[in-house]
Amino acid sequence: MTCFLDIRGITKSFGKVAAVSDVSLEIARGEFMTFLGPSGSGKSTTLYMIAGFFDPSAGDIRLEGRSILREPSNRRNIGMVFQRYTLFPHLSVAENVAFPLRVRRRPAAEIARKVEQMLALVRLEGFADRMPAQLSGGQQQRVALARALAYDPPLLLMDEPLSALDKKLREEIQVEIRRIHRETGVTILYVTHDQEEALSLSDRVALFNHGRIEQVGKGRDLYEAPRTRFVAGFVGHSNFLDCTIAAHAGERADIVLPDGSRLPELPIDRQAPVGAAARLMIRPDRLRISSPAGADAPAGIDAVLSDATFIGETFHFALTTAWGGALNVRMPSHTLPPAGHGVGQRVRLSWAPGDARLFAE
């Protein structure tokens, strides 16, 4: 079985800088895939190679089993919405949407019908005769979306299309994009450096770092089972504590914390020798606060509460370990004991097995 879009080991260097190195990815038909990653990690470059604006230095890109690298971008039949507003400023909204059909010399009746259909899809029915300069940023991106979908491309690329919009508008259009994805069944490759956007929109996320993909998977997988320290740090909030490997067996290791306390059998990302430095990672919402060392106290870390903030549904606690390590805890307000926790209080932090992970340095 061949997948819909097959990216095979593509690399792109600009002079000595490798913007993208050896990226491979398989995307199914109708999938919503997001490229997430920090600035300069190669997301746009990868997208531009698929669009045909850059030629890969190595590797191949296959769409429905056929390599598309030989074809110029105007023959690839791919839709794209850009970060910047790229509507044709001299054409009306309707003519912008009609543009891809006019250059394909489709009959006038078909064009008129399609333009109407596309403007309805992006909910801009009354705007056909406006000029782009008379539209808000959000409206311009909707028109760009309509233009990119007007020729029924099997693949739609979106390079941070909402990054110039304010938060409220962004969320509104995200909902629209999800609906349009459902209604049209188009395969979408979406670039963003906003993890919330990535997690809420897509079926799968490819997390980029330094021109490579660190991990591909459902947002939940990236959050629950980050394969590298970078993934753990980039997706969701995390606590990291320095520690040392005390014993190693298979995919688990025992560690010693700076105060000498030992924690057994934690999952670790890769092999590391005894004595090597590592990082212990626990999500702030997976830590539980209980009273300090007693006979029935759970295994965990002792710390002192240094700050408590109430943020509506959740409480944020900042804690400091005996050796000065910083930790954050979030818990739903309703789970707190009525007396709450006071600043300066000594507490024991514990977690369920599997919620703590080790990353070798």
Partner: protein, 288 residues
């Protein structure tokens, strides 16, 4: 449809009052009044008063086939020069806008330097190139492409070649400003939409640069209409342009009345062309 629509963002009606900064431009207005308006008025008066009151100078101008031929020459050369500068200047302006820093700065320097070089020096340089025994004719004959020297000088061909070169910067500079103001990702969008290079050029590039082309063309055409030095040096006595005719009427024939009439015809034509340009491309919107 014109670009002015795209550029117009509806603005609230403003109350009518004297524009700020009027005082600052008063000296310039005064200067224009003294060195431009007054002499033009004087010439206009002489054209209807000398040698006696009446329109006989204008009648004489339009009755003479010689003078009408000069008028025709003037338009022919100005139009050819305008078309030639658009065709030659567009690629240059485009290259200036997209070329990597070093090359675009180098080419820009060449354009500006050629503009700053003395006009007479540049025109004499063309005389050297265009002569019967000049570089161009000798090269073509050595290559065996022609057996007789081409008549490239002392005629309208020479005038057109020389003026095209001299007018090129006036086309390149406004066009370059317009092209540079276009976001290049618009062309990437056009390409992904399926537009071939040619379609992207005719459907996106040309409409978006129309104001720049119009601004450059107006500048070149109007300047060419009244140009004197280059036609005088590279042109022939049998095929004059209007500015040469006016100079001859004043200097050799001392016929100020007829010279004034010719000058006024030129001015009216120029203003008419300017009005047409304003009508179609708006005012000062080369960079929208």
């Amino acid at each position: 449809m014109t670009l002015s629509h795209a550029a117009h963002v509806p603005s609230p009606a403003r109350p009518r009052r004297l524009p700020a900064g009027l005082a600052a431009v008063t000296p310039a207005f005064a200067l224009v009044a003294v060195v431009f308006v007054l002499p033009v008025l004087a010439l206009l008066l002489r054209s209807v008063l000398e040698p006696e009151p009446g329109l006989q100078n204008y009648a004489a101008f339009f009755a003479s086939t010689t003078y009408l031929k000069v008028l025709g020459n003037t338009f022919l050369v100005a139009a050819t020069v305008t078309v030639a500068t658009v065709l030659l200047g567009f690629p240059v302006a485009w290259f200036l806008a997209i070329a990597p820093g070093f090359w675009s700065r180098l080419l820009f320097a060449v354009v500006i330097l050629s503009m700053w070089t003395n006009l007479l020096a540049r025109t004499y340089a063309w005389m050297v190139l265009l002569q019967r025994t000049g570089l161009i004719n000798r090269t073509l004959m050595n290559l065996g492409l022609i057996s007789e020297p081409l008549p490239l000088i002392n005629n309208l061909v020479g005038v057109t070649i020389g003026m095209t070169y001299i007018m090129l910067p006036f086309m390149i500079l406004p066009l370059h400003a317009t092209i540079r103001s276009i976001d290049p990702s618009v062309f990437q969008a056009a390409s992904l939409c399926g537009a071939s290079r040619w379609q992207a050029f005719t459907r996106v590039m040309l409409p978006l640069t129309a104001t720049g082309i119009a601004a450059g063309a107006l500048m070149v055409f109007v300047m060419s209409l009244g140009y004197f030095i280059t036609p005088a040096l590279l042109g022939g006595t049998s095929n004059m342009m209007l500015a040469e005719l006016i100079a001859q009427l004043v200097q050799s024939l001392l016929d100020w009345g007829l010279a004034g009439a010719a000058a006024l015809v030129l001015l009216v034509v120029t203003l008419a062309i300017y009005a047409v340009q304003l009508r179609f491309f708006g005012f000062g919107q080369a960079r929208s």
